[in-house]
Amino acid sequence: MTTATIAGKDLGVDNEGFMQQPDQWDRSVADAMAADLGMRLTERHWMVIDYLRNSYLESGRAPTIRTLGKQSGVSVKELYQLFPKGPAKLAARLAGIPKPHGCI
């Protein structure tokens, strides 16, 4: 684990940039991470990020992309438009939760 400085905070991240302590996160962290990637977070992005984060904090695990598409209010098609190249992982990183481990 290494430390990254994001949004003026020193955060523990793994070697792919996933936060290791979810409680260190706040929305400015997500904004800073997104800015680093050249992304601007819209309300639709936040719907996904909020759902992912709440789901993780409730159950201890990130939801599958199937559930994400059904329950977040954002369809799978739109998920791939909002978060190109892998919405489940990218949105999880922005939501400050550990990297999802699952085959779906």
Binding site: A4, E16, T64, I65, R66, G86, K89, C103, I104
Partner: protein, 174 residues
């Protein structure tokens, strides 16, 4: 270090000292079996590829075509005879209803993992940008047309078309 600086494992230096690309950019997966357990590996790999930002094509041939057939897609079964992986004797597997029972059990387990049934899975894969194709040779052999397939199927293509489409990427046979 910012997120943008995080190590990206895109390239490796091979023994000759050359730097080469390590990530896979595209996979073309052939689905040739028509059982429930024969179809899922290909679907999981295609969806998994899309989740990693990898381009994915699925090519259904022979009995794999049942997975994209409107009338059969939701009715794939687990073989209980001649299926050594199940570890049950032939006489037991051959009892009427055993295949139905084993299929039901497997579907239950699949759902428990939040993995969708085949028709929904095909939708998920295509909504994620994956593409589905039917093998022309098999279509001709079984006397089918594109209308027999679920709407997510892009086209009926030949093996040559498949190779052209797969060029530059990885081919996975299931």
């Amino acid at each position: 270090m910012t997120v943008a600086d995080a190590p990206v494992f895109d390239s490796v230096i091979d023994p000759t000292g050359d730097v080469r690309e390590k990530t896979i950019e595209k996979v073309s997966i052939i689905v040739s079996k028509g059982s429930l357990d024969g179809v899922y590996p290909g679907l999981i790999m295609a969806n998994g590829a899309r989740m990693e930002g990898i381009e994915a094509n699925l090519f259904f041939t022979f009995f794999g075509m049942d997975a994209i057939h409107k009338k059969r897609s939701d009715h794939l079964k687990v073989a209980t005879v001649g299926n050594p992986g199940l570890h049950i004797p032939t006489w037991l597997g051959g009892i009427p209803g055993m295949s139905g029972f084993a299929t039901g059990q497997m579907k239950k387990k699949i759902e428990e993992l939040d993995m969708p049934p085949v028709p929904e899975f095909l939708e998920l894969i295509t909504d994620s940008g994956g593409k589905l194709f039917a093998c022309k040779a098999t279509v001709d052999m079984f006397g089918l047309t594109k209308d027999d397939f679920v709407p997510q199927v892009e086209d009926v293509i030949t093996v040559g078309d498949f190779y052209a489409m797969a060029a530059g990427g990885q081919i996975i046979f299931t």
